[in-house]
């Protein structure tokens, strides 16, 4: 390094100062984003660890004493956390496969040249105009045990601990339809028309064409969607609070519902420990998400 600098005595100083200025500018441009990331993404991780190593007394008075990792171990092996984990997992099972199948069905049905097809495409996209809270209020009119349209249908009953979570999950399936439709339709429309003709010439029937040509070609989009739907399932909160408040009993309390703890029944240390559990779960999903994101960039525009 120093020898090259010495070798070009009259140009080196200018280059170096330019380099320093560019380096400073780079950091200056990065700084605002970095400040937010440090204060509200990384520092909270430290706080969570700190909170879960201390046990607050019942009244939250004075500095909570250090208890070490025992609180984390107790929480993550306790029945409360396991129930939240199970419910979040079930929520995925209820929403992800059904969401993908319906998304593909909608997109395949709407991806053809028919008069008025744009109207159907708009209808199928329409649920992207709802937030989770709006979708929950919409399903309130359908499944609320007192005033819902389907209040007498037992397998949709929010009073039934075995079916309540499934019933809630239908609001998410419905709400996700617009997004899955839009993404699968975009993937279908990206399939070159020659593929269609080639498989017709080879005598492929529609079903064989679908499974052997269409599905492999849209599989990157489906994989991407699967990850998105898993993330949505992990984030399930508003629909629980609006439709069941976690009940009956604790039957519909997802992991996030227990962490947000709207009734305030858990200690800070317990909630922080649960957050660390959710962090590990998120890390697994985020790794998949990042893998897909960089892959998309590879093939992308």
């Amino acid at each position: 390094m120093t020898t090259t600098l010495g070798g070009a005595p009259d140009r080196a100083p200018k280059r170096t100062s330019q380099k320093v200025r560019e380096g400073l500018l780079g950091w200056l441009f990065l700084l605002p984003a970095l400040a937010v990331f440090v204060a509200f993404f990384y520092y909270p991780l430290y706080l969570l660890v700190d909170m879960s190593l201390h046990r607050e007394n019942r009244f939250g008075i004075g500095d909570p004493p250090y208890v070490g990792p025992s609180q984390i171990v107790d929480t993550l092996t306790g029945s409360d956390f396991i129930e939240g984990l199970t419910n979040s997992g079930l929520y995925m099972v209820y929403t992800v496969p059904l969401g993908l199948v319906l998304g593909v069905l909608l997109a395949v049905a709407a991806n053809r040249r028919l008069r008025g097809i744009r109207v159907f495409q708009t209808i199928f996209s329409s649920t992207v105009a709802t937030s989770v809270a709006v979708a929950s209020v919409i399903f309130f009119t359908l499944v609320n045990p007192e005033v819902g349209y389907f209040k007498d249908v037992s397998w949709l009953s929010l009073d039934n601990p075995d079916w309540a979570l499934f019933s809630v999950s239908l609001s998410s399936v419905w709400q996700n339809l617009g997004l899955t439709f839009i993404i699968v339709l975009a993937a279908l429309q990206a399939i070159p028309a020659e593929m269609e003709e080639a498989s017709a010439l080879d005598g492929y029937g529609p079903l064989r064409h679908f499974w052997q040509i269409t599905v492999p070609l849209i599989s990157p989009a489906l994989l991407f969607l699967a990850v998105v739907l898993v993330v949505h399932a992990l984030q399930a909160y508003a629909q629980i609070e609006l439709l069941t408040n976690g009940g009956p009993g604790t039957a519909t309390e997802t992991l996030l519902y227990k962490i947000a703890d709207p009734q305030g029944i858990r200690s800070i240390g317990t909630k922080a420990s649960m957050s660390l559990g959710l962090f590990v779960l998120t890390a697994v999903v985020a790794a998949a998400q990042y893998g897909l994101l960089s892959k998309r960039v590879h093939y992308g525009d």
Partner: protein
């Protein structure tokens, strides 16, 4: 196969597809239809009539009542302000950071990129408890800054806009330097306009996720006056149980901005959702 037979078969298939399309439309529209019906019908009369699929004793003033008497106007204002602050903030921090990663050399660049991507591991759901404490310690509970500051930067924005910037031809960069453009001039007069499609997609995602937020505004506020419209919907369903049509009308009002977005920016919305549908 004769010509007539093929023709008949095609007409049969067309009929089949229309039937499927209509059936699927009914499944998607029925919940929305119920919401509108329940919002406008008088709540008690509707139940007493056995929940028919038509309006019962319509109360057409329900929307103005929800807006004026049930606090929706204030909640919409909070949502608009918070969403605007988040969008402007995310745009500025993402463009600047993306510019640094795409066009500048600086120490620890690779490490810093890892720091940005690493935030994907720490969504608000994970950091919720800790961030609520931070906001409380700062005295920011029930404030615009409390609702928006934790979201003023996003890895997805930096990532997407950086991709857009990297597609800017190197020669343009060099030519701009020769013309005496500073970095700021090049950023806002050349790089940002060229990356417009990606930035448009990103702004759609930014708008959707900011407007639809629930878990953070629920926990960062405890006073009705600072509720966003999404939180106001919950309050209405729990506190005005005799007038649930207020909550139903409120849900329609809360969805209106997104409906307008879907109508007027359909193309950007589709490209935004397909570009990085990470949050809904």
């Amino acid at each position: 196969m004769t010509l007539g037979e093929g023709h008949l078969r095609r007409r049969f298939a067309t009929f089949g597809w229309y039937t499927t399309l209509v059936a699927l439309s009914v499944v998607i529209l029925f919940p929305i239809y119920m919401l509108v019906l329940r919002a406008i019908s008088s709540p008690i009369a509707f139940i007493n009539a056995g929940q028919p699929l038509r309006l019962v004793d319509p109360e057409w003033d329900i929307f103005s009542r929800a807006w004026n008497d049930a606090g929706l106007a204030r909640a919409m204002l909070i949502s608009v302000v918070v969403t605007a602050v988040i969008m402007v903030g995310q745009f500025l921090t993402s463009v600047m950071a993306a510019y640094a990663f795409a066009f500048l050399e600086f120490p620890f660049k690779r490490l810093m990129f890892a720091v940005v991507i690493g935030t994907l591991l720490l969504p608000i759901e994970v950091t919720l408890i800790a961030n609520v404490r931070t906001i409380r310690d700062l005295g920011w509970l029930n404030s615009v800054q409390g609702l928006s500051v934790p979201f003023l930067a996003t890895a997805l924005g930096i990532f997407l806009i950086r991709q857009g910037f990297m597609a800017v031809p190197r020669e343009l960069r060099d030519a701009a330097t020769l013309d005496g453009f500073g970095h700021l001039g090049f950023m806002f007069r050349v790089a940002v306009p060229l990356a417009k499609p990606v930035i448009g997609s990103f702004l759609v995602i930014s708008f959707l996720s900011a407007w639809n937020q629930y878990v953070w505004p629920r926990n960062a506020t405890d006073e009705g006056a600072w509720q966003t419209v999404q939180i106001a919907l919950r309050t209405l369903t729990t506190t005005r149980v005799d007038e649930l049509n207020l909550a139903f009308a409120g849900a329609i009002i809360a969805a209106l901005p997104l409906v307008l977005l879907l109508i007027f920016f359909q193309r950007q919305m589709v490209s935004g959702l397909t570009a990085g549908a990470v949050k809904g």
